[in-house]
């Protein structure tokens, strides 16, 4: 829940700058909402601790009614295997709730790691956050016209 008591996904802004900070007591994970999509930002080093924070944040967003989770790795340099197992847990939870998971802006090293551990087969990869948002959002008027 956001500080206002309104589900976070319903009050989120459409732009990345409009970040709704998660509860500072339980998590310092950055995230924001675009429609029914929650964008959650992974930290520079994704380990057990930061992985669990992301997991909590994702669960919270799903609880709030989000249908798509975008986990953005643009700041992430390195991911360890414990974090990978946590990410797979997030995918499990999302699948059970019929939500989709997109990983965006994943560096080559992490892609290689995800490939090795078979994560790729269970998640959609997007070049960046915008591409991730576009994957499951109806095209905007501007985008439709540009086609």
């Amino acid at each position: 829940m956001s500080r206002t008591g309104i589900p976070a996904c319903l009050v989120g802004a459409h732009r990345r700058e409009a970040i709704v900070l998660a509860d500072p007591i339980t998590s310092d994970v950055r995230s924001h909402i675009v429609g029914t999509t929650a964008v959650v930002y992974a930290s520079d080093y994704l380990n057990k601790l930061t992985g669990e924070r992301i997991e909590r944040e994702c669960k919270k967003q799903l609880d709030s009614g989000c249908r798509t989770l975008v986990i953005d790795f643009s700041d992430t340099g390195i991911v360890n295997s414990i974090a990978v197992s946590i990410l797979l847990g997030i995918i499990d939870i999302a699948e059970k709730r019929e939500a989709r998971v997109v990983f965006s802006d994943v560096n080559d090293q992490t892609v290689q790691l995800f490939e090795m551990l078979g994560v790729i087969k269970h998640v959609v990869l997007a070049k960046d956050e915008q591409e991730a948002l576009n994957l499951f959002s109806p095209p905007t008027q501007t985008q439709a016209m540009s086609h």
Binding site: Y45, N47, L49, I78, N80, S81, I82, V84, S85, I86, L88, G89, D92, D108, Q109, Q112, L113, E115, M116, L117, G118, V119, I120, K121, H122
Partner: protein, 772 residues
Amino acid sequence: MNNPGEMRQVLGRVKREEFAGRAAELDRIVAHALTAEGSTADRGLLILLAPLAGVSELLRQAYDRIFHRQENVVPVYFALPATETTAVSVAIEFLNTFLLQYIACRRNEPALADAPLTLNDMAALAPAADVDWIEQLVAAYNQQRFSDDDRALVRFCLSAPSRVPDHGGRPFVMFDCVQLSAYDDDAVPLATEIVRTLVSFDLPYVFAGLRREVAYTFDRAGINASSLETIRLERLTADDASTLISSMARRLDVTVNEETRDLLIQQLEGSPLFITALLQAARSKHVALNSYLACERLYVEELMGGTLGNYFASALYRVTSDSDIRGAIVRLLSESATSKVGGASPTVSFKTWCQRLKLDAIEVEKILRRLHTQELVNWDGNTVDGEGGPEAWKDYLRSRFRLDALREPRALVFADLMAAALKRAPEKIARHFRQGANLRIREMLSRFSSQRVPRLLFDSAEFSDVHKGGTADEIVAALDADTDLVRLPQVFHTTSGVSFSPELRQFSDEENCAIAHAFDGATYTDANEVVWMVAKIESKLAAGLDLTRLWLDRLEAVANRRIFLRIQIWLIANEGFDEQAYNLLKARGAYASSQQQFELLSARLSEGEGPAAHAGDPDEFEFVLPMSSDSELLAANTAEQIARRAQFTPEAINQIKTAIVEACINASEHSLSPDRKIYQRFRVEDDKLVITIASRGIVPSNIENRNTAAAVFESVQPSAGLGLDSGEEYGDAAEQRRGWGLKLIQTLMDEVEFERVDEGTSLRMVKYLRKG
């Protein structure tokens, strides 16, 4: 301090520069004199002596070194005389020696150290600062010596050094107790009194004696010797004995050549006592030791009527003063020595000894203990092994038996002994040279310590196929580049095959066959225990089928008899093995090497030796990180810098970083480390980066009983988790997905394995440089 090279001899009998082979021990004694203080354990220095190793000159040299420093420490050297008969007379002699040497040092007058002065003379010569306490000591002694209490007098004399007041010099007493057993029967237990007095001193001291005697003496005095600093003195090494012979022969003007020098070393088994005795005899008899004949003649003369014979006669006299019993001992030992069966050591029961000596058990025990102390026999309480003692002792026994028991003519015994010695000489030297070569088998096995070496070195046929015709440099370069490696076990004990099976002596020289007990893999477990059985086959050409089969059968028979559960046979033949023999070896799981392969392996194992090998190496980095959140990131970033410097590609750098992160996590999660630290070593080599991540603590269950990292990876594969590259279905619980770390590391790095460590784990990872 004076220049040691110009040091005047005080008690030393040879010049400092001619004193061979004990430099380290000498330094330790001097250092102990100057620095030892504090607790009882810290003040004492034990010198445990192998028979004939010689300690007197070492202590005299130490005396001279300390004397010439003219610091506050006053050296006192006292050797128990072999000729004194009572503890009281020895104690009085000690008091005299102490005062004499004390005054000599305090006055810096070396000549006084062994001057024949009375106690009153000494009191008169005492320096002004010491006059009072010395006069008091002499007065007290004069009172004490007329009392009836011998024990009190002994204690008074022995404790004299502790009466030096604080403003005086600090005595450093060196007790040379090699003759201690001569005082066994005295009413006053001299050994116990000496030990107790030394221990009660608030002064540093040295107690030197035969190793078996020292243990017995301290035990009897009720003092734990194990906590004292200890020097173990063995006979001289061949190199040191060679130096001693050369320098002494030069000093005594005795001619020796290289051949006779080697013979003397072997014949006298590196004993400084015997070497000195023989060279001095050569000088006094004007004999040039320039042939085997001259050496052996002098040896037999000395054995039958010279210093060597006197030494053994005295040793026997110390065992018992009864000449009939000595004769019976000689007879018994001679007879048992000639009744060897199959090369095995002759053993005789204690009961037989009692019967043959016609003595009661207590008397025989006393005799056997003395023989055992001098290592002339090995006695375990039940049986007596007469195989002990040097070769010269056996020659002595033989000659005495024939002279005294069989009453044979002396000339005949002399001739026979000399003929035997001459026949033995070339055999002895040949054996020495073979030992030199074959010791390398045991030496090499003892160097096995989980190193990785090219598998090809244990496969004679494949090695020949690949490297035949190659120059030495080419072969070494190819082996360096070889990535098909095997891990050697960690050997913890090596011995001759004859130790396990005396009959092997019939088939080859004792040194040609070695057995090594070892552990494979990362942990000391039953499953990892292995016995390497190694034999060098005598064959000029490639060893054939029959000979090879014979050796395989022999070694396997020994393994069966000794119940070696897991063995690795390794046969070495000069030119390798012919095709049939090679196929047999392969079929029976044995390793096969030529002499060339053996030498290449030896060179590789020698390369990595010694702690200095990597010390100060500019391409090696070591870090210790705490096991805390994110510390693995520091390790990864460090590795990144090192790998970048070594010009690894960005992709490879990322792989290395990920592997290190996983290794650190593994170390943190599994080890229950007591110090919560991760020890990391990065070594950049020409073509690779070698990273070792180690931690203390327990060995994780997934590593225990596994020989290779691959086995670990199999064990950690989560049953419901993902397979690498497989995209298999995965389970629900995150915990089930854990345990990928090691498998990831294996995928990311080129070589991964656990190294042998005593505690915890050490994971070694290698990434080869492939410049992109």
